[in-house]
């Protein structure tokens, strides 16, 4: 880790973030100048985490004093005093870190991040994402995960815990045999950059994070962070989220995200799936409006199982494509108030309907409405109807759900799972309990941000190497290297199908 290039790269990230200057201005100024600057402290934290060591201040101290002589003098780790050269002590590291913690903590800690802390985290992460990558994509995959606090689980006499800001949360892993359980710590929300639909490949870099106690809903916390991202001039495209986000009341997630200009790609919670009333006679189903004459059996469609065979996938796609024939098509953009207009599928040439005489001239390859209601609702009488923002407020999204387009778009969400997995991987940075022994939201947030910065740099390097390798393969007439298929089906094992 004493590689000068790495050192220079980490310093470049710190300087590009502008965090040291901002924090130094906030720290108290004493009579005697502090030996350890914020810049050097951040460098020590990054060096520690880039080397896969735990987030302990003693490790930060080790990393700093382990630098070569020139760097130590340059960074102020060794300075001249009247007694000769003085090397930075552990107590000095602890002192500067505690000063940082004081200025970034709330006066009354409540488990939510202070705005100043949020801005520091934003700046650090954004500086670790190269501009050459951010220009390629506007899409983000978001998710939260659990991070345990080192605090003991025993309550004190006053009913509090050692870690005043952590609290009990609920986690559920997807692993085999893994059960729901409680944990004591924080929810870490990440926003990972993913490629746009039909866009170029981009490295899966974490652009934003939010850490909050489980006493606070992690969804509005991340929405606030993404709001700051948009305020900083970055436009958001697709936001890919699981049903944990989609299930929140629209005021907490869907509506503010749409107001930020995001196109949502979500997995709907089972409670939100299916028909949910009508608007202007059109049936609200999975976030879209459908013709009232849609065959009811088509509304029984469920998302495709992960274990679905090729044949099942084909049938599912055909069924969802059939359902889309009955979907009212969007005929206008969303106005400033969130209103838009949708048109009858027969008017748009997707369907033959006796109520629309012109549509009966369409070929028989289009489905035909065989039974008309005795009283035609507005969506069957008017060519288009107005849809306010309150209709399908929670479930409306970019692609029809569940469809092939949605499935492909939603598959990008796994990028954020890889981000979570990377910082929980025992082989690299393992943020399991004991990884950081400091209590409180601020130390945990700062160390996690540094871990993510180190991860971003490693991911960007791997991406660049892969691009070079792909270019080399292309020049040799080979296709891009793909991942080895790990799933082995029974037919392969018994030898009836060639792998």
């Amino acid at each position: 880790m004493n590689d000068p290039a790495t050192l220079a790269r980490l310093l470049a990230v710190i300087d590009a973030s502008g965090v040291p200057g901002r924090l130094e201005a906030l720290l108290p100024v004493g009579v005697r100048p502090r030996q350890l600057s914020v810049r050097t402290l951040l460098l020590g934290m990054l060096l520690t985490l880039a080397d896969g060591r735990p987030a302990h201040l003693s490790r930060v101290h080790e990393a700093l004093v382990g630098l070569d002589e020139e760097s130590r003098r340059h960074l102020g780790i060794v300075c001249e005093s009247k007694h000769g050269p003085h090397t930075l002590t552990y107590r000095q590291v602890e002192y500067t870190f505690s000063l940082l913690e004081n200025v970034l903590s709330k006066d009354v800690p409540d488990g939510a991040a202070k705005q100043a802390l949020g801005q520091v985290l934003d700046a650090l992460l954004e500086a670790s994402v190269g501009r050459e990558y951010t220009a390629r994509s506007r899409s983000l995959a978001i998710d939260w995960t659990d991070v345990e606090s080192f605090s003991t689980r025993r309550t004190k006499k006053d009913g509090t815990y050692c870690d005043k800001e952590a609290s009990w949360g609920h986690r559920k892993g997807g692993g085999p045999g893994e059960k729901d359980e409680l944990f004591f710590g924080y929810y870490l929300s990440l926003a990972t950059m993913v490629r746009d639909d039909a866009g170029a490949e981009v490295p899966e870099l974490v652009r934003r994070m939010a850490l909050a106690s489980p006493d606070h809903d992690p969804v509005p916390a991340l929405v606030e962070v993404l709001g700051r991202l948009v305020s900083s001039g970055v436009a958001i495209g697709d936001v890919v989220a699981d049903s944990g986000y989609a299930f929140r009341v629209p005021e907490h997630f869907a509506l503010p995200m749409r107001a930020l200009g995001a196109s949502l790609v979500m997995d709907l919670h089972p409670s939100d799936r299916g028909t949910q009333g009508t608007h202007g006679g059109a049936i609200c189903f999975n976030g879209a409006l459908f013709c009232p004459a849609t065959p009811s059996a088509l509304f029984l469609i469920e998302p495709l199982s992960r274990q679905a065979s090729e044949e099942e996938t084909k049938v599912h796609d055909a069924r969802s494509a059939e359902l889309l024939r009955y979907k009212l098509g969007v005929t206008s953009t969303w106005d400033a108030d969130g209103y838009h207009r949708v048109g009858c599928p027969a008017v748009l040439g997707k369907l033959r309907c006796p109520a629309r005489k012109a549509s009966m001239a369409l070929s028989f390859s289009h489905p035909e409405v065989l039974a008309l209601a005795s009283h035609l609702p507005p969506c069957c009488v008017q060519k288009t109807i107005t849809v306010p923002a309150t209709v399908n407020a929670k479930t409306a999204q970019k692609h029809p759900y569940p469809s092939k387009a949605h499935r492909r778009s939603y598959a990008r969400r796994s990028a954020v799972e890889r981000s979570n997995a990377r910082i929980k991987d025992p082989a690299t940075t393992d943020v399991a309990r004991g990884w950081c022994r400091l209590m409180g939201l601020v130390p945990m947030s700062l160390f996690l941000a540094c871990a993510l910065v180190a991860r971003n740099l490693a991911v960007a390097d791997a991406f660049d190497e892969r691009q070079v390798e792909n270019a080399r393969r292309l020049a040799a007439g080979l296709g891009p290297k793909t991942r080895r298929r790990r799933r082995k089906v029974i037919a392969e094992l018994v030898g009836t199908v060639s792998p």
Partner: protein, 293 residues
């Protein structure tokens, strides 16, 4: 209700509901043979499986609607052979008609058949009648009309548009240059050479069958009317004249022998067979179609 036991039929490759639907609708029909019932069961089960994939209820009024049958044929059987699709559509239309509207279907009207050719004696009688016309002009035109009809198979606009100079001697025979939509050169059969050339010399640049405006449809009517010779000789039919030419040419080239050997009955099939063949040179056509001197 059919008396055929449908229970041995087992639906294959379709949902059980589709099989039940097929049994229910076919059981309503009065069918004579098991093979017919089986093909209807298969067609109905396939249609119902398609309807189920479209989210429709397996109700006869829905599944057997003409719109759904057409959509099934267009979308659900794309990869099938045309013959299979035709059979399937016929079976499904039959089912729909019988199950949904059991009223009698419109009475089929007779099909137009080819006209009978004139015999040698009938043709000789018409030629004699033509020669007995009171004026030279009418004699020549009537003679020319019979020669072009029975000798070159011309009728309608092809016949009306023939001028005197369109009849020429070439390639070892007498040819008629036909103009209009189906322009071609037709050899005149040898027995009509003299009359065709004689009529052509007489009219020169004028139309052989007379008249100044060939677009008038009844140009030949007065000429034909004059050839009606009472009870034994009915009014001359141009269609029968053409049929006479066609049958004589067919006999010359051995068409009946060929079609019998090939098992062909339909002229459409015959058209498909010769579509890519070379029709041959003019002299060959003259010899083959009985036009050689």
């Amino acid at each position: 209700m059919t008396e055929i036991d449908l229970s041995p039929w087992v639906p294959r490759g379709v949902d059980e509901r589709a099989g039940a639907f097929a049994r229910a609708v076919v059981a309503q029909l009065d069918l004579a043979s098991w093979s017919r019932a089986r093909s209807l069961l298969w067609a109905a089960s396939r249609l119902c499986a398609f309807a189920l994939s479209c989210g429709l209820d397996p109700e006869p009024s829905v599944v057997l609607s003409s719109a759904l049958i057409e959509r099934f044929i267009l979308v659900g059987t794309k990869s099938w052979s045309p013959a299979a699709r035709r059979t399937l559509r016929s079976d499904l239309s039959f089912l729909a008609k019988r199950v949904l509207s059991p009223a009698p279907s419109p009475v089929p009207l007779g099909r137009e058949r080819a006209k009978a050719p004139y015999s040698e004696s009938e043709l000789a009688a018409y030629l004699a009648l033509a020669d007995a016309q009171p004026t030279v002009s009418r004699r020549q035109r009537a003679s020319g009309l019979i020669a072009l009809g029975a000798g070159a198979g011309l009728i309608g606009a092809d016949l009306r548009l023939v001028r005197g100079h369109d009849v020429i001697e070439r390639s070892g025979g007498v040819l008629v240059v036909v103009k209009g939509r189906c322009a071609r050169v037709v050899p005149v059969r040898a027995e009509h050479h003299f009359r065709a050339l004689d009529a052509a010399c007489f009219v020169g640049a004028g139309f052989i069958v007379g008249g100044a405006e060939p677009n008038r449809r009844n140009v030949t009517s007065p000429l034909i009317a004059s050839l009606a010779g009472g009870k034994d000789l009915p009014r001359l039919s141009l269609a029968r004249l053409r049929s006479t030419w066609v049958s004589r040419c067919a006999a010359d080239i051995g068409l009946a022998t060929f079609m019998a050997a090939a098992g062909l009955r339909c002229s459409q099939r015959l058209g498909d067979v010769v579509a890519d063949l070379d029709p041959g040179e003019e002299a060959y056509a003259v010899r083959l179609l009985g036009g050689a001197r």
